[in-house]
Amino acid sequence: MDLEPGKPVFLEDVVSQGRSLVGQTVRVTGTLHSFNATLDRAILIDNQHLLVIDTSMLGIIKYYFGQTYQFIGVVTPANPPDECQLISDDLRDDSNYTLEVVVKARVARDVDGLDMGVYRKSVVALRAFLDKVPPV
């Protein structure tokens, strides 16, 4: 089975890089803002950045708004009309978001209690290390 690891990225990376990440497997972490069962879409927020997650592959999961979730999945092109209706006007004004891509999640987990400050620093340190070390 050829599985790609979920590379830890921040929401701002996906929002800013958007299309250049299409096809890559990523791991995103953020606070669950809302969930639309009709469209199978969840909205994650972290540091004023907003990302839409496609949860159609996850089955039935109990989501608790305001808790921290981590999703592992592939960045795929979005369908703007669908994604557009998910984001209210208040959210649009207050946050940075992208309607070009969504993360199609295959794994979701509740990581409530995760120290986001330490997590961010660890991801940055890990990236700096992996950039120096050639792949095996």
Partner: protein, 131 residues
């Protein structure tokens, strides 16, 4: 054999002096995902893949005779559970895998700690005189 699956090429007189030689193969803070079951003669094994953000490796769990007799004794974990695996590194059909000795469910901060431990280990290996 070392972690790169090559035979040891160092000085044989120092074989075993490196403290890492005695450390069990540890795959910390990994996310357990996907699973499949393959009955193999009278041995039942569970083969899953775990992902820690830098790579994916297969983990194999050979169920004991008691677990085969009584399925309720088997450990089952939901997709996405964060686990710490201790086991032996091996190879099967050209694919590297870990044969699980113990598997513990851990919290989300353990995974972050695991990354930091690995970075620390890497810088130790860089400076270590045991190559």
């Amino acid at each position: 054999m070392n972690l790169a699956n090559k035979t040891y090429s160092g000085d044989l007189s120092s074989y075993g002096l490196d403290p890492l030689f005695w450390a069990p193969a540890k795959v910390p803070n990994t996310v357990f995902f996907i699973g499949s079951q393959h009955p193999l003669r009278i041995v039942e094994l569970v083969r899953d893949h775990i992902d820690d953000g830098t790579g994916v490796i297969a983990c194999v769990w050979f169920t004991s005779h008691e677990e085969q007799e009584e399925p309720e004794l088997r450990q089952t974990h939901k997709l996405g559970t964060s686990v710490r695996v201790h086991g032996r590194l091996s190879e099967f059909r050209g694919e590297r895998q870990v044969v699980i000795n113990t598997l513990d469910v851990v919290g989300p901060n353990e995974e972050t700690l695991g990354w930091l431990e690995r970075l620390s280990l890497r810088s130790y290996l860089k400076k270590s005189s045991f190559k």
